[in-house]
Assembly symmetry: C4
Homo-oligomer: 198 residues x 4
């Protein structure tokens, strides 16, 4: 069907919105309804709930950034479509590692697995970013806004550290996961000056 020619981006956005909306929502299905009806019945759910909040934040950040990046893109081609599918694939594993980590808190391996999926999602986001930048040129607003992408590189370094530290103490990993999320959550004033979509 001729995958690689340029085409409008609205359906790519709609499909990504659909997948991300489903991912952020189906995680809540892992909050299994407790059998009891008192406060104690809810307690074993607390780590699962905390993991859910963390992943909700991460997926919301990805949607946010995806939203902005696609907004800056002009058209999409085959490589962009597949780089996007690649990102969606790794994001689709977030509900799985969230549940695994939430149901086994303070355990090394699930905590490291969570970090692994975050690393792959960040790498695939970077690939998508480069693929879009390649169609826009070095002087595009997006290129200037991304710059050397220290934020993306710092995130991947933190995830790598968290993956390793999970085998020392999972709590160190949790602190790193939260730190990166907060770093993305707080707007970046420097970038704001560069990108002004009309």
């Amino acid at each position: 069907m001729g995958e690689p020619q340029p085409m409008p981006k609205n359906r790519l956005e709609a499909f990504s919105d659909g997948v991300i909306a489903i991912l952020i929502t189906i995680m809540v299905l892992e909050l299994k309804v407790p059998h009891g009806a008192d406060w104690h019945a809810l307690q074993p759910l607390l780590p699962v709930l905390v993991a859910y909040v963390l992943s909700f934040l991460y997926i919301a950040i990805y949607w946010n950034n995806h939203h902005h990046m696609l907004h800056a893109a002009h058209r999409v081609n085959g490589p962009i479509l597949w780089a996007n599918n690649h990102l969606l694939f790794w994001l689709s594993l977030v509900p799985f590692v969230t549940s695994w980590m939430g149901e086994n808190h303070n355990e090394a391996f699930p905590t490291a697995a969570y970090g692994f999926v975050l690393i792959m999602a960040a790498v695939s986001y970077t690939i998508l970013q480069s693929t879009i930048l390649a169609t826009l040129g070095k002087d595009s607003e997006l290129a200037r806004a991304v710059g050397r992408d220290w934020k993306g590189k710092t995130s991947i370094a933190c995830y790598l550290a968290a993956l390793g530290l999970a085998f020392v103490s999972p709590w160190l990993s949790y602190v790193l996961y939260l730190t990166v999320a907060v770093m993305w959550f707080i707007p970046d004033r420097r970038i704001e000056k560069h990108v002004h979509h009309a």
Copy 2:
């Protein structure tokens, strides 16, 4: 990626529509298919079904109001995006507390938990409303339509009362939850005069 600059609102609407459509639909997955094939097999499901109807009504009301509020907004910025994600987070917990309340009817704690999630959803809706109003100004049609927001304030007061009364009799809470839903369901003629989107 420069979160805070203004941008078109269509993708925010599409993402919210997706999440709300999924939330309103996955609740039905909690209606577990009974093993028997007669009328008695259906009876234990009745409280779950009633809780489902109530939450369907609430989420439909939220979608309705969200629809109108975003329609009145001109553009969205970073704070609006995050206020919206915050609202979607609390709405995403509605299926969980619906199932818990439905499977434990006439129990204090699940009934209070339902009220707690409704309070947080109402508070986050109010925050989203204020964030949008801050971009529109005091003389905007939305500002006049919202006015002192007695309806939003009354709702939160009723939820708070329902949360407390759940420990006296959950049935009082159910009556309050239904009353607030009906209050939002019945159109507000005074507001209708103020907002006339062309």
Copy 3:
């Protein structure tokens, strides 16, 4: 937030598309993966699969007709929004009665429950149709296309008959459910002449 004023219909369509797309898809989650790996492991699933095909057809017909009806509408108001939510509510119960009927084939009560949900969906569709027609007037193309709505009325009569006959023999009901689906599936040449959207 002033529910009843007129507004564009695109978000209503998007929300309905989302809910209907989820409904038609989550039914497949009821096709529980069999434990065995041979042909015999699949056999108990056959009635569930047949019920799934029937409901897939019904929901696809509803989406089809909803698509055409909204296409003929100009704008939506509060009553149309709520008539639409009412329809989505009854459609949302289709996966539940599909599973119940599929897992208990040749049983009277689940077969009748399936008919009950089809009746309520048909009635709510008729209400939505009347609400939209009230905004368009008697001379609209939609009004002429619908005419006396013999197809809608025949459907409801068949569902009522199927509901009653389920207590005589569920197979009579299955034949009626299939007949109505086929009746809607085969295009109506008379109507085709009336509605020509540019």
Copy 4:
């Protein structure tokens, strides 16, 4: 409601996007969270994960090709709507056969069932393609891009071979399933020259 008249294609795209986005995402729900917290707990999941990756790739390819084909279509009519629903039906069975094959790797029957669903999806895609081509004419860009559709025909031949070979060795089928996916994944330069959507 007069199914067969021409109408804009955006809602068909939106509905298909919704269904495909849900299908590609709910497969991940079959990755059941393991009870243990170490590497060994993850091992039994590996075949399920591999099957998930394969099906993610297939559904992404279908979305990609569907995207391009609908982009080339001008308007949709009743037959196109139903050919599309037919395709969505067969795609909706992909999560089911994926789980069955993943949980019973190296078993003949589930591997053949996977091939059967791929055949029916490919056949229904070909029907949709023909239905759209019938509205565009032999000289359309889409007609020239599709040509004799050797890629579609080769795929169906490979699926048929894989279905049969599953009873000799499922591994031969897995190799064929992967080969076809890779064949579609690699862009087709010849086609690229033909279709240039402005």
